[in-house]
Amino acid sequence: MAYTLTRADDAMAADNARYPLGERQRVEDPLDQQVHRSVFTGKLEEVLHSAVNWGRKNSLWPYNFGLSCCYVEMTTAFTAPHDIARFGSEVIRASPRQADFMVIAGTCFIKMAPVIQQLYDQMLEPKWVISMGSCANSGGMYDIYSVVQGVDKFLPVDVYVPGCPPRPEAFLQGLQLLQDSIQEERRPLSWVVGDQGVYRAEMPSQREKWRDQRIQTTELRTPDSI
């Protein structure tokens, strides 16, 4: 599996550096080399990573942050009928310092962008970003002077959830995809152990994964009856 590496020390930025900070580079799975060097420590490290990641992905605490309409569907996912607690993410945090991931649920406005950046910076590593809805993904139907055409113009996005707004179920699926990708991550196990870069797995595109199955559909239900 291919990985994207971001080195921790790259985050020291010059004034004219653009967000998202840090240089990204495509690499192979760092663990493969470990295993080749020594099967024993390599395997041990793999088990450690997988245990830590398992813990991380099942206790993701979301940051209570919303921009517009999509946020309503996001909160719907938190309430009883959809119950996000099934995935360990019901602990909404009002402070970015205590949150693990941020959902950009809604339109990213030019006036709001520096605020979003500030809040993102205040979150502690490890941290992730889900971009929820067409507006956050690409500007959506708002190709207009006051809207940033996609939050990935300045934030590193891990998962994109399409829809305007996405259904709560779609948001939950996005959350599970984030969990899958966290399971594959290689983060430093400690600040003194090993390589200090963050290796994010390049996850397969869902569109490609499902395409064959989706184009098999030949009959759509008529809207004439419920």
Partner: protein, 593 residues
């Protein structure tokens, strides 16, 4: 089978209007130019020099025009069809409302591009403050004597005035957005609050004030809303709401979307209101097009709009109680909302933003079995509402927390342009569904719930009552849904009926043009006000004989509601502010558009 609604009046009866007669007597006939429109109220052009006198006259006459309903402007420089109107590059318009007369009047002031200045009307109508700032921000018109004329919707670092015709509309016409470390610092500095700029002191006689920045991201600010508090201990000395973090350029968008393809944008203005937002826009377009819709379409519209009112009020109720500190109710109300969405989805195929109303009708006929589904929801709700009332509104803690908290009178409400349930909580019986029935509301049997104290409690209680009344209306829709077509038989109905298309090449071409370019509407102006979920929402459309609007003005209820906050919060406590924010029921898209 179609019946004209009472306010489908096409003739302008300005002459007969007693207010116009009184104005002519006082200022002379030469002082005004009357404009014939489809707006449904007298439209008078006045000279800039007499504007303030005319406003004062209307404000102080018996049965006064006590609410400044709307104030905005139009860039007229590219408008082709304006025969008989005074020369103007930029027109500033004022719409006044008199609750006791149940009438409106619109005043327009013509300005030349070289001299864009109007006297400020803040001393007569305090809520003119934000409207004038918005006009300055969007058009670059200066208001002489305004206490703080700065940008309101755009960032302080912005260049240009977006609603001018020569300002680019699309983000993709600008350089792609980038944020650098330096730019981030600069923007953060620009967002810093400077008390002196607002004429605020940093300390009292023997104490120093604390300035607390709440938002633009705060759990109880309901979205991207910021308010800066000047505090002495727990007491709010003064506060400054700061908006514009949710400005999506909905008005500018109207100038490039066809009449038809603008409908989805209306859904997203009051985004908890769904198709309720389509209604004023569609009704205003239908006035321009001269379409009278069928009884079935009107009843379907009323039914869906009321269902969304319940849905929006349920969201309100959950978050309102949560802001007061009750965690559980929100889980219950969202369960009810899920039930509502099941019905909405079955009928419209979408949850939040169905964009389901069409020019001349609705998108589709009701599916088979809709009534059973709807009846299920109508039967489900009453016991839930009773439970909310018993568990929360009769709860001693909630009562203590909300009674007499942030109370204001009807007069204060009108002065600040407050409408909807917040106005009715003060005991003022003004509901457009009764006062100026549209879309067939005159055929329904329902009551208008009123409060008495205008406090946080009443604002919650009135909405619970309103849900009951909406259920009553929906029940009447289920019982008496008229037969007939769901679309009007009119050449401008969009999209046109499909079966007509297949007759011969002529009808095919017409169909193609109307679907691709959209209908062309005759030059005129029209407006429709409706009682939306949060208050009075109106669309004021100017057509220049094109496939899209020349100017779309959206008056939303939440904008004045937020503007009023400092006037009622001075001297209050911080927790009361949070309770008040919860009771206003606003969403930022409904403020910044």
């Amino acid at each position: 089978m179609s019946v004209a609604t009472p306010n489908d009046t096409t003739a302008n009866d300005a002459q007969a209007d007693p207010v116009v007669v009184a104005l002519m007597q006082r200022f002379g006939e030469r002082a005004f130019v009357e404009q014939a429109t489809l707006i449904g109220m007298p439209v008078l052009w006045v000279a800039r020099d007499s504007l303030i006198d005319v406003l004062r006259f209307l404000r102080e006459m018996p049965e006064p025009f006590n609410m400044l309903f709307d104030l905005s402007a139009t860039d007229e420089r590219l408008r082709g069809n304006r025969q008989g109107l005074p020369d103007s590059d930029f027109t500033v318009f004022y719409q006044l409302l008199s609750v006791s007369r149940n009438r409106d009047i619109m005043l327009k002031v013509a300005l030349a591009e070289s001299d864009l200045e109007v006297p400020s009307s803040v001393s007569l109508y305090p809520n003119a403050n934000w409207y004038e700032r918005e006009v300055w921000d969007m058009f670059g018109v200066t208001f002489h004597g305004h206490p703080h004329l700065t940008r309101i919707l755009m960032p302080p670092t912005w260049m240009g005035h977006p609603l001018r015709k020569d300002h680019s509309a699309r983000a993709t016409e600008f350089d792609p957005y980038t944020l650098t470390v330096e730019g981030q610092d600069k923007e953060q500095q620009a967002l810093k609050f400077d008390p002196e700029a607002w004429g605020m002191r940093r300390g009292g006689e023997d104490s120093e004030f604390m300035f607390l920045n709440l938002g633009p991201n705060h759990p109880s600010a309901h979205g991207a809303f910021r308010i800066v508090l000047q505090l002495e201990g727990e007491e709010i000395v003064d506060c400054v709401p700061d908006i514009g973090y949710h400005h999506r350029g909905a008005e500018k968008m109207g100038e490039r979307q066809s009449w038809h393809s603008y409908i989805p944008y209306t859904d997203r203005v009051d985004y908890t209101g769904g198709v309720m937002n389509n209604l004023p826009y569609i009704l205003a377009v239908e006035k321009l097009a001269g379409i009278t819709v069928t009884d079935r379409a009107r009843t379907i519209r009323v039914m869906m709009a009321e269902l969304f009112r319940i849905n929006s009020h349920l969201l309100f109720l959950g978050t309102y109680l949560q802001d007061l500190g009750a965690m559980t109710p929100v889980f219950f109300t969202f369960t009810d909302r899920q039930k509502a969405y099941e019905v909405i989805e079955a009928i419209t195929g979408f949850r939040m933003h169905p964009a389901w109303f069409r020019i001349g009708g609705v998108a589709q006929d009701l599916p088979k079995g809709w009534d059973r589904l709807m009846q299920g929801f109508v039967d489900w709700m009453p016991k839930r509402l009773a439970e909310y009332e018993r568990a929360m509104m009769e709860n001693a803690i909630v009562r203590e927390r909300t009674r007499n908290v942030v109370a204001y009178s009807t007069a204060e409400a009108l002065e600040w342009g407050v409408t909807g349930p917040n106005l009715r909580a003060t005991g003022c019986n003004f509901d457009l569904r009764k006062q100026r029935p549209y879309s067939g509301y005159e055929n329904f049997d329902f009551e208008v719930p009123l409060g008495g104290n205008g406090d946080v409690f009443d604002r919650g209680q009135v909405r619970i009552e309103e849900m009951r009344q909406s259920l009553r209306i929906i029940q009447q829709c289920i019982d008496h849904m008229p037969d007939g077509d769901y679309k009007a038989d009119h050449p401008l109905t969009t999209p046109p009926p499909r079966d007509k298309m297949l007759q011969h090449i002529e009808t095919l071409i017409t169909h193609f043009l109307q679907v691709s370019w959209g209908p062309v509407l005759k030059p005129n102006e029209s407006q429709q006000m409706i009682e939306a979920t949060k208050g009075i929402n109106s669309y004021y459309l100017t057509s220049d004989g094109n496939t899209m609007s020349y100017r779309t003005r959206i008056r939303t209820p939440s904008f004045p509601h937020l503007q009023q906050i400092p006037a009622v919060m001075r001297g209050g406590f911080v927790p009361d502010l949070i309770a008040h924010l919860g009771s206003i029921d606003f969403v930022m898209a409904d403020v910044d558009r």
